[in-house]
């Protein structure tokens, strides 16, 4: 409705504050009324303001009194269970917003990494230039692996030569489970996929000799599908 974003703090100007109070009080009462009507429930509001001696209430003094006695007659537990004040309410909102923020950031990171991956498919040089650190490489490797899995599964389906209908049904199931796996991969911060790979305990020679060690879990040349699961249970980060 408003074009300007209002700062969530006490309005210092008396006139502005009074005007805001009038508008928002009206809006609030309307919202309470709508809630009551749409959901067929009872609701009431009581506002004490410095602008007026009498409290502003909705719907009516009689109804409010009735609801208050109904409320007070409930066991104390029932009253308090869903009772909040500014402090608890704001804390709830902050917690919820933080959760959303965390989720959104993970989402964005996955998008970023995927972008890097596609870039890396065609121009390997550029990929190396980007100066990716271990965490990036870790996540990148993981995403590549996920994609390889999807590709293998899809190829399997196509190779079986099923009709278009049956394959799309199968892939729908696959893609949804892939989707879940993708999110769980990024959910678990502890997917030290590559570090596990480089785990010196697995290495008998006591040194790192590039190809040999790296290919160890993928020894028989098969793709990631069969072996990657071992890497996920990480001895370093339980």
């Amino acid at each position: 409705m408003t074009r300007k974003k209002v700062k969530l703090a006490y309005i210092p100007s008396d006139s502005a504050r009074k005007a805001t109070f009038k508008k928002r009080k009206k809006g609030l009462m309307k919202k309470v009324s709508e809630l009551s009507t749409l959901c067929g429930i009872e609701a009431c509001a009581i506002i004490f303001s410095p602008f007026d001696g009498e409290p502003e209430i909705w719907p009516s003094p009689v109804s409010v009194r009735h609801m208050l006695s109904q409320f007070k007659n409930m066991p104390k537990m029932e009253q308090s269970k869903k009772m909040v004040n500014q402090d608890s309410f704001l804390k709830q909102r902050i917690a919820r917003a933080n959760e959303q923020l965390k989720r959104q950031r993970k989402d964005n990171r996955e998008k970023e990494i995927t972008k890097v991956m596609f870039k890396g498919l065609t121009t390997v040089g550029k990929l190396l230039q980007q100066d990716l650190n271990m965490l990036d490489l870790n996540d990148l490797g993981w995403i590549v692996e996920q994609n390889l899995k999807e590709i293998s599964k899809r190829m399997e389906v196509l190779n079986k030569g099923g009709s278009i209908n049956s394959s799309s049904g199968a892939t729908a199931a696959h893609s949804s489970s892939q989707g879940e796996k993708k999110s769980s991969g990024f959910e678990q911060k502890q997917q030290r996929w590559l570090l596990d790979l480089m785990n010196p305990k697995q290495n008998n020679t006591g040194g790192f000799r590039g190809e040999d060690v790296i290919m160890f879990p993928f020894g028989d040349g098969e793709s990631a599908t069969t072996h990657s699961n071992n890497l996920w249970s990480n001895p370093f980060y339980p």
Binding site: L35, C39, F71, Q86, N108, T114, F118, N159, P200
Partner: protein, 219 residues
């Protein structure tokens, strides 16, 4: 990973919602909204307020500033409560706390806005990419031959990634004492990991600090 957007703003008839499910959903959403409005009114205009709402299942939801019970009492008794000095002090404390919480909330909401916009930008870029490069299309849309090619390219990439990772580890070993392995894994581990922001630990993302112009860089 994309969430479906909601139906958006629609005009609805102002009468009791017939379907039980929709009624419950509406109740939850609107109750939260009304509490939010009450919280804002209280903060912006410095007023005391109480809302009591009974759910379809007859549970009592209430919001109150400073608290529900005092407002109820004040309303029923109708005499201005006495205000000893300590009362004022408690109130001042409480308000200061609320002020801080509001600031924190505003901050988090702003960050969320930024991230959402960033996400949209990324999605747009991906969409554009997909139109131009066949290999970026969803796997299910690709034919067997294409999948074959893609698989090879992916496996190449995986090797490159592994090599690079190995290189980094080798590099860090060389700068450390001969008793390798454990030390360096621990070193990497001791770097404080930002739980809330995975990107903070990565080199891939200068975007957060520099704005969206740089999204073009990787294209």
């Amino acid at each position: 990973m994309e969430k479906k957007s909601s139906m958006g703003r629609q005009k609805i008839p102002m009468s009791k919602i017939p379907k039980k499910n929709r009624l419950q959903v509406t109740f939850s959403k609107r109750r939260a909204g009304v509490f939010k409005k009450a919280s804002e009114l209280s903060t912006l205009c410095g007023v005391d307020i109480a809302l009591i709402v009974f759910s379809p299942a007859n549970k009592a939801f209430s919001f109150g500033h400073p608290n529900v019970d005092s407002i109820i009492d004040r309303f029923l008794v109708r005499n201005p409560p006495p205000e000893p000095c300590t009362h004022r002090l408690v109130e001042a404390h409480r308000n200061a706390n609320i002020r801080e919480l509001n600031m924190k909330l505003t901050q988090v909401l702003q960050q969320l806005e930024i991230e959402k916009k960033h996400g949209e930008v990324l999605s747009e870029i991906r969409k554009a990419s997909r139109a131009q490069r066949w290999w970026e299309a969803p796997v299910n849309e690709l034919g067997l031959h294409e999948l074959q090619q893609l698989k090879v390219a992916m496996e190449e990439l995986k090797k490159t990634v592994e090599k690079q990772a190995n290189k980094i580890l080798m590099g860090s070993f060389e700068t450390q004492s001969p008793s390798l392995g454990e030390n360096n894994i621990n070193r990497l581990e001791s770097k404080p990991v930002d739980e809330v922001n995975p990107a903070a630990n990565s080199n891939v993302l200068p975007f957060y600090n520099w704005g969206y112009g740089h999204c073009q860089e990787l294209l």
